[in-house]
């Protein structure tokens, strides 16, 4: 806070700052003790819809109790919040969950469901290229952070073609459909997208979809995960219950759709093979 008013005496400036700071502390501490927060960060999408998410979720959650929603656009800020052991539930991508678990222990409590599926697979598609070896010099479009896209590509290329990575340019676009359409009109040579997005393209633009060939595909991974920081605290149980039951109410269902989900499934009801995947390092 800075004061540049020469007409305000120095001692008044100091006391005003003290009062303002005290007020700020009061304002901050009052709800912090009672409000639980859903922290959200998703490196698998670049749709800048944080204001809409914040408004819609806060509106919905306020009707359920003293809860709030906090979306993050920066990975580092989200991770700092987690490292500071902030109280609440963390909504994050399964890719990020696996990375984070190595340094900040998390417990996945719910996994997202979309069209009856808990998992998705990423596909590398192209119009003009017939195989991976032709990728050098190309631009690959995909939704999400560059870190995420690079790691997906690395997984798809495997050890045999890993050397091609530095010869490929990545173009981060807001959503899968943008990436797929960018291949259609020649801005990108190939696109990384989920299988479900390819299916959406088949419905809205069948001609463009028919032109695409699959070059490679990645391993299946979970959709969004709702996790809490270990050691488990009972305090988050009520907020988890609110999240889990969102699909039962129209407003909650709409908010889930904004995250690309139809509902949630509790991790303690998953098959053993799927539960094992969540525990992998």
């Amino acid at each position: 806070m800075t004061f540049n008013r020469p007409d305000v005496p120095q001692r008044w400036r100091a006391s005003t700052v003290t009062v303002l700071l005290a007020l700020l502390l009061l304002v901050r501490t009052a709800p912090a003790g009672t409000t639980e927060t859903i922290f959200f960060y998703n490196p698998e999408s670049s749709v800048d819809n944080f204001a809409a998410l914040k408004t819609e979720f806060d509106d919905y959650l306020s009707g359920q109790g003293a809860y709030s929603f906090q979306p993050f656009s920066e990975r580092s800020t989200f991770e700092s919040m987690l490292a500071g052991n902030a109280q609440g539930v963390y909504l994050l991508s399964s890719w990020h969950y696996r990375q984070l678990n190595a340094k900040t222990p998390l417990e996945a409590m719910l996994v997202g469901v979309a069209k009856g599926e808990l998992q998705q697979r990423k596909i590398l598609s192209s119009k003009d290229l017939s195989n991976i070896s032709a990728l050098p010099g190309s631009t690959i479009a995909g939704a999400g952070s560059e870190d995420y896209l690079r790691s997906q590509l690395q997984q798809m290329l495997g050890a045999e073609y890993e050397g091609l990575l530095p010869k490929i340019k990545l173009l981060s676009v807001p959503k899968d459909l943008d990436a797929l359409m960018a291949v259609g009109f020649g801005v990108a040579t190939a696109a990384i997208s989920s299988e479900s997005s390819l299916n959406k393209l088949a419905i809205i633009n069948p001609k463009q979809h028919a032109q695409l060939k699959t070059l490679a595909s990645g391993e299946k991974s979970f959709l969004l995960i709702a996790a809490i920081a270990k050691p488990q605290k009972d305090k988050e149980a009520s907020l988890l219950k609110v999240i889990e039951s969102m699909q039962a109410q129209p407003a909650g269902e709409k908010n889930l759709k904004m995250l690309g989900l139809d509902g949630w499934k509790r991790t303690d009801t998953l098959d053993a093979s799927l539960s094992k995947q969540l525990r992998l390092p």
């Binding site: 819809n49 479009a141 801005v187 633009n205």
Partner: protein, 344 residues
Amino acid sequence: METNRYAGCLSFQTIAPALTTMPHNIFNIMFNLMIKPRILLLALAGLCCPLISASLAQAQAKILIINSDDTVNKYRQVKDAFKLQIMPHAGRIIDFNVQQTAHPEALEKLIKDENPDLIYSIGSQAYQLAAQFGGTKPVLFSSVINWQRFGRPSNSYGVANELSLSQELSLLRFVLPGLQRIGVIYDPNYSTERIVEARNQARDLGLSLVEQTVGEAEPLEKNLDNLLARIDVLWLIADPGVLADRATVEKIFVASMQHKKPVYTYSDAFMNYGASLVVAADTPTMGRQAANLAQAILLREPIKEAVQTPAGSHITLNVCQLGKLKTDYNSDALDAINQLLECP
């Protein structure tokens, strides 16, 4: 395919000081090379291996960014995204804000003094100045509305401001899938080519384009009601012959509301009038595309399209307006929506 002929200037210009001293004094050259390892490295790389030379050139590249107005949010966003993507691959970046200088001629001096390897211009004013003072240097542009009106010299590259028709119509079909008959009003003096292309794209998507021309012989008032009665959604395109003034725009929106037809258009500016869906180019993606293009120019890679179509889209959905019009939207598209407007 267009081959980039300009990035080669970089290595030459950087090595040039060492080469020009050669006839005068061999000791000067040795001295220059000893105290300027960058020149030595580039000279050796340039002589030995063109590939190494190109990547070194890129790493040392000096880029001048000319921004039409840094206080405009969209321009600032595109610049930030460009910088973030190009930083690891560039040497130095110089900023020039047109609005902050009373004398645009200062740009001419800056270009002479700094001798940048590439000029990136943001906005129409910046692009015109870059073309005026940039000489033969490669000029990259973005955020230029209807760039075609300025022409494109062979040293000019860019990212257009308008989405492809295929993307515009595909996203309309994605978000509002129940609407098959798309009405469009256009002035043949401005939009004939665009409409011909839209006709083909609509056919590919299984949509039907219902066209209405305007002109001196066909005033808008005469045909607007007739058009609105035959369509499911009105697609308002950037046609200066149609969107001549505020009164005309208001007339179109009022009539659409009376006929309970949603309006699909290209700019959030129409949200205040009651547009139901807006799909525009995503600004940060344009900056990233420009950075990839800059990288290709500096590396002397072949450039497939000198002016690229924007790859990212930004969608605003007016749920409130759609509710008033009793029009359904695709709830599975909600994760692709940037802004959601609810009723107050």
